[in-house]
Symmetry: C2
């Protein structure tokens, strides 16, 4: 694909060709590319549950207001934003930074304080924002990567989060910003034209250009 | 660029070649591609302030803990997440859906109720989550698009949000999930190897694979 063709041709697909299996290798390739997304202090506050078994897709569909695409897609990813990723990852991020020359050892405590100042304590609202925004960077990277691999996607936030957490054993403190259905466009479906986008003049402001 | 080359080669750049001007046309092209990002019910809760004038970059740098890259980058985007985008955009999104065949007119009230049920009332926490996650999808799309246009980026959340809002006249109820510095890599800078990423086995769970 040419420069930015993945971005220009990506659409949110409502109708997936059912019963098409996508190999675990391809799913892992997709997630591996998506995982190159940037994150605040490289803390990577995202986790992924891959729902691909047909019985489990039925369960997820019930948590998602019975939307057929959950079952028709080849698999659905539960994108999990993890407010506790700082505690989980900060030491090894800093180890990596020291080893690769990003940070001097003496700066470690300074950086740690910056992380907590900017991203807040575990229970804070700031910390939730941190988790959601970075998990969403990962999610968008994944949707673009999917297009590059010939796959179609649909990001969904029409679901009952408590139901998804309960059925898929996701701890209470995590946040689920979206599900992403992944697969192939259903045969003989013509996509409708792309819906309304705001004109740039409406939401882009040049400061003293 | 080949399939997903933009994603694989994208890095967060700390050192930009200073004094390189990027044309308004190219900036608009970048934002136009990024603006194809998906959003919840297509509500597009993002706005962008382009900071490119050197005096204004100095002001922004002061709000961003004096980080040199704010001034050295060709321009910096203030990514604004707008919790009130629902009220601003819902009617014309639905008009577009009706016109293009996405939605029957009779379903309009049902969809409106769904939006408010899922995304909450204007002051709610749900509404803030809605704005941040979708603005972050836009932000990631923009960073990938930049790479496709030969530009480098650095997403930043090291800044004083109140300062940015005050200096750039951004209303109190908006949220600024990140700034994105955009430009070209400084001459003679060798990028360090990509820092630590978690192994997929650690954060990807296959449900009954």
């Amino acid at each position: 694909m040419e420069n930015n063709e993945s971005l220009k041709s990506r659409r949110s697909i409502n109708f997936f060709e059912p019963n098409i299996e996508i190999s675990q290798d391809k799913i892992l390739e997709l997630i591996e590319i998506a995982n190159l997304a940037p994150s605040s202090f490289n803390l990577q506050p995202w986790k992924v549950v891959v729902v691909k078994d047909s019985e489990r897709k039925k369960v997820l569909r019930q948590c998602a207001f019975n939307q057929p695409k959950v079952e028709e897609a080849s698999f659905v990813l539960i994108i999990v934003a993890d407010p506790l990723a700082i505690e989980e990852n900060i030491d090894r991020v800093f180890d990596s930074w020291e080893k690769l020359g990003y940070m001097q050892h003496e700066m470690r405590q300074t950086y740690r304080s910056m992380v907590y100042q900017l991203q807040g304590e575990p229970d804070s609202l700031k910390r939730k924002f941190f988790a959601i925004k970075n998990a969403s960077l990962f999610a968008m990277n994944l949707m673009v990567a999917a297009k590059g691999l010939g796959l179609e996607t649909h990001p969904m936030d029409g679901f009952d989060e408590a139901c998804v957490k309960k059925e898929f054993n996701i701890p209470e403190e995590k946040i689920i910003p979206m599900l992403i259905a992944v697969g192939y466009l259903k045969k003989d479906i013509q996509l409708l034209p792309r819906a309304f986008r705001r004109d740039l003049s409406e939401f882009v402001k040049f400061e003293r250009f």
